[in-house]
């Protein structure tokens, strides 16, 4: 079976090579059948990679440990759903996922454009096949997912317990979809430059792909933040880690592109800017993929050895060099058709938003790659910390949110100043109300958070006003009742109102970020049973210890041998205050492969994973993680005795004694305890963004063909003026 998988990879490589040749030959000689054949190569590639992925997935599900990657990342005791996800937990498996998703999305994009943009699509085909070929060659020559060992080991290492969480199953496929989707606009952008056709048809097609990339990437990032917060033991959702930043940068340029594309569509301006953004987004996505794998920057995701660094650097260098060459050599056809009509126009707000987004991207880029930059410039590798990132990104984020509230209020092309001034009243009032309410409530210490709340109030006012006025206009035109008017309004202006909802979602998200970062109470607590301590407005009391043994009783079904924890009671105010919640954090101990730890020791000597306990709330989350003291003498004594007396097949008995001792005489445990206000609004904001995006992207039913010719209608409209 592994042979079949590897053969598919070799075939895929051949198909890529053929497809590139056929597409290029077809577009240069005008022989359409070759371009067609090139496009079909992409479909064939998707088919081959699907077969390869299925082969590997079956190997995982059937515990075929002759596959090295299955033996390295899965085991019989790993639950079935995590065995399936283990495919993308390794370097070689994740490369396969990337290549497979790229082939699927490429097929879809080329299928959707099969009847238009022939020459652009042909170039794009060649470029996409080039990318996929690159990743397939990495697998064939450097990191083969179908490598086997004979005889096959009897048991595998098992999926890293840190990854045994539900989010692990969806975060990588969605994030990788985002990354791979970013390369499609890149390919079509380069294709358009090569074919010298940057026009209305191209805008229409590329908008779809850029939007899909933006959506998937954004959701992937949000899922990663959610995973970090709810499943890792540090209680944060964003740490300016290199890998987090790597996914955020293409998302920022993608957002800028979606906005400035509208300007090109309407006024024929910013062509150079737009193609540069599209090329930058794709290149940043590839750089992000490179960062995760090459270990070139210190990061939590130390994904791969140094061997993959060089090919990636070559690819990125080629991309950057090629992009610059293309834009410079085609600059005549990228000249603007018009100029900005007026500074008071939605176009100019979009320009401002673009500048802020690119500035944000630059700041994050600089900070992320600073270790490499400083080493190159000064010989000493140095890193900037979160504080530096926050210092520059927070003000930019404030401006961004504010702009997203100003944009909806200003008309396209040229707004009327008097109207604009009037339209600002409601949003300003809204922001003022927020300010007054917060100051009255005593929220005075964190000015930046306060400003962010006011900006969000501004956005709320502005979006609300748009909905109100739009509904009123519909009632005037069609006499519908208010609820129906709003629905019809949104249905007939999906892009506009979907966009407004997305802006609202982003504002809500930032409210959550501001609240949870500025007003968080965090503490390290050392508690024994019966002890209680005060954290901010709450009292936390250690009620009793908890212990569970073996997968069957493990609520999370993650396969841990032993989970030790505690039950905590949280009350408001003092110990006798109203009961707020009961939390049950635990630490799961997994088996290791180290025989040196002893029969009992190796059952719990592997990776330890925190099972966090969260009490979510609309105004605040209460979050805690426990670190039980496994060095306590009464516990280590039992492990030692078990190692000496018990053979491996009944070592679980020793674990039973350990659990019993822990329950009878629990040692003092360390707790990381957090009260994070408004953190739930981050996830709610994300959902609103998703909803708005889906509305904006949803295709409207085709307008019924009118019998009156459009020409006549347009002319009639002119004569009315």
């Amino acid at each position: 079976m592994a042979g079949l998988g590897f053969a598919c990879l070799l075939l895929a490589l051949a198909v890529c090579a053929y497809g590139i040749g056929a597409s290029l030959y077809g577009v240069r000689t005008g022989r359409v059948e070759f371009s067609e054949s090139g496009r079909r190569s992409v479909y064939a590639l998707a088919g081959l990679l699907t077969v390869a992925t299925v082969v590997l997935e079956i190997a995982f599900l059937r515990n075929n440990f002759s596959f090295n990657t299955v033996a390295d990342t899965s085991s019989r005791t790993t639950p079935a759903n995590y065995r399936a996800a283990a495919l993308w937990s390794s370097q070689e498996g994740s490369l396969l996922l990337w290549a497979w998703l790229l082939s699927l999305w490429s097929s879809l994009a080329l299928f959707l454009t099969r009847k238009r943009m022939r020459d652009v699509a042909a170039y794009a085909t060649a470029i996409l096949l080039g990318f996929d070929g690159f990743f397939v060659s990495l697998m064939v020559f450097y990191a083969n997912p179908f490598q086997t060992t004979n005889p096959a080991p009897a048991e595998g290492v098992g999926l890293d317990p840190l990854l045994r969480f539900p989010t692990m199953m969806i975060h990588p496929p969605i994030l990788y979809s985002g990354y791979t989707l970013c390369t499609i606009p890149l390919a079509f952008g380069m294709g358009a430059l090569l074919a010298r056709r940057v026009d209305a048809d191209w805008i229409k097609a590329i908008r779809r792909f850029a939007f899909a990339a933006w959506l998937f990437l954004g959701m992937g990032i949000l899922l990663g933040a959610r995973w970090s917060y709810s499943e890792l033991g540090w209680g944060g959702y964003w740490g300016w880690d290199a890998v987090e930043n790597a996914s955020l940068m293409p998302w920022l340029t993608g957002t800028a592109f979606l906005h400035s594309l509208m300007i090109q569509e309407k006024r024929g301006m910013l062509k150079v800017w737009n193609v540069s953004l599209v090329l930058a987004t794709g290149t940043l996505a590839i750089m992000g993929t490179f960062l995760v794998r090459s270990g070139v920057l210190n990061s939590i995701h130390a994904f791969g050895g140094q061997t993959l660094g060089v090919p990636f650097v070559v690819l990125i260098g080629t991309l950057i060099g090629g992009s610059i060459y293309l834009v410079v050599s085609r600059r005549d056809m990228l000249r603007s058709e018009h100029r900005l009509d007026s500074l008071l126009s939605r176009e100019s707000i979009f320009l401002a938003n673009n500048l802020v987004l690119v500035a944000l991207c630059f700041v994050i880029f600089w900070g992320t790659y600073f270790p490499l930059i400083s080493e190159a410039l000064t010989g000493q590798e140095a890193s900037v910390g979160s504080v530096w990132f926050d210092r520059y990104t927070v003000p930019l984020a404030l401006i961004l949110v504010l702009l997203s509230g100003i944009g909806p209020v200003i008309a396209w092309r040229r707004a009327t100043l008097a109207n604009a001034r009037r339209n600002f009243l409601a949003p300003l009032l809204s922001a003022l109300v927020v300010l007054v309410v917060l100051l009255a409530a005593g929220v005075t210490q964190k000015p930046l958070a306060l400003v962010m709340f006011c900006c969000a109030g501004f956005v709320l006012g502005s979006v609300g006003q748009e909905f109100l006025r739009g509904a009123r206009a519909r009632r005037a035109m069609a006499g519908e009742a208010p609820p129906r008017a709003v629905l019809a309004l949104v249905k007939r202006n999906r892009r506009r109102y979907g966009g407004y909802i997305v802006h609202l979602g982003i504002a809500v998200l930032f409210v959550g970020v501001a609240g949870s970062s500025s007003f968080q109470h965090a503490a390290e607590l050392g508690l024994s049973p019966g002890q209680s301590t005060r954290v901010g407005a709450y009292t936390v009391r250690y009620v009793r210890p908890t212990a569970t043994i073996t997968p069957k009783y493990d609520e999370a079904h993650t396969g841990s041998t032993l989970a030790l924890g505690a039950e905590l009671d949280v009350t408001k105010g003092g110990p006798k205050g109203p009961h707020v919640t009961t939390l049950d954090p635990s630490e799961g101990f997994y088996a290791s492969q180290e025989a040196s730890q002893g029969s009992v020791g190796s059952l719990i000597g592997g990776q330890a994973v925190s099972h966090v306990a969260i009490d979510p709330g609309v105004t605040r989350d209460i979050w805690t993680a426990i670190e039980p003291n496994m060095e306590a003498p009464n516990l280590t004594r039992i492990v030692k005795a078990g190692n000496e007396k018990l053979p491996p097949d009944i070592a679980l008995v020793g674990i039973g004694y350990l659990a019993r001792e822990y329950l009878k005489h629990p040692p003092q445990a360390q707790f990381h305890f957090e009260v994070s206000p408004l953190v739930m609004w981050i996830w709610i904001g994300g959902m609103i963004v998703l909803g708005g995006a889906l509305i904006a992207i949803w295709p409207a039913p085709s307008v019924v063909r009118s019998r009156v010719s459009a020409r006549a209608r347009v002319a009639r409209g002119l004569s009315r003026a």
């Binding site: 440990f65 033996a71 390295d72 990342t73 937990s89 390794s90 370097q91 990191a143 080991p153 009897a154 048991e155 595998g156 290492v157 890293d160 840190l162 890792l232 033991g233 540090w234 209680g235 210190n298 990061s299 939590i300 995701h301 130390a302 994904f303 791969g304 050895g305 100029r339 500048l355 500035a359 630059f362 700041v363 600089w366 600073f370 270790p371 000064t378 590798e381 140095a382 890193s383 900037v384 910390g385 504080v387 530096w388 210092r391 520059y392 390290e524 050392g526 492969q593 025989a595 990776q607 330890a608 994973v609 925190s610 993680a625 003291n629 491996p648 097949d649 003092q668 360390q670 990381h672």
Partner: protein, 140 residues
């Protein structure tokens, strides 16, 4: 001022602003950054009052918790130096933290001791992509 001159002025103003901001950014990054050192480099070069990023491996047998403070020592990743930097750390301890794992922690030298900056401990996910000897366990 005719429109095209206005546009040029606007462009120059915008570019100047961008260059100024970028310079401010770049300048502060160099002064705000913490140098990344190995334990042996740290032992040689560390000055009190400055913060440094130590990258190395957690030394075997050095992990010892005293209430809120976690004591451990960091040694060179490659194992070439014999320097072990003992440090005292408070704050969140990532799940993968274990003897023998690679860590990055921000420290400051105070007096003769190294104090870890609160919540600055990062532990690398154990690398699974070196050839792991998967078949060493015996399932008897």
């Amino acid at each position: 001022m005719n429109p095209s001159r206005k546009r040029t002025v606007r462009l120059i103003v915008a570019l100047t602003a961008a260059v100024l901001l970028a310079s401010a950014l770049i300048y502060t990054s160099f002064s705000a950054a913490s140098p990344a050192l190995t334990p042996s480099q740290l032992a040689r070069e560390a000055q009190p009052g400055h913060s440094y990023l130590v990258t190395g491996t957690v030394a075997a047998g050095s992990v010892h918790r005293e209430g809120p403070v976690l004591n451990f020592a960091v040694e060179d990743r490659s194992g070439e130096g014999e320097t072990k930097i003992p440090l005292q750390y408070t704050g969140t301890v990532p799940d993968p933290f274990h003897e023998g794992r690679e860590v990055i922690v921000t420290v400051e030298k105070q007096g003769g001791r190294y104090i870890g900056e609160r919540n600055s401990l990062i532990t690398k996910c154990p690398s699974k992509y070196k050839t792991a000897p998967a078949s060493e366990n015996q399932n008897s």
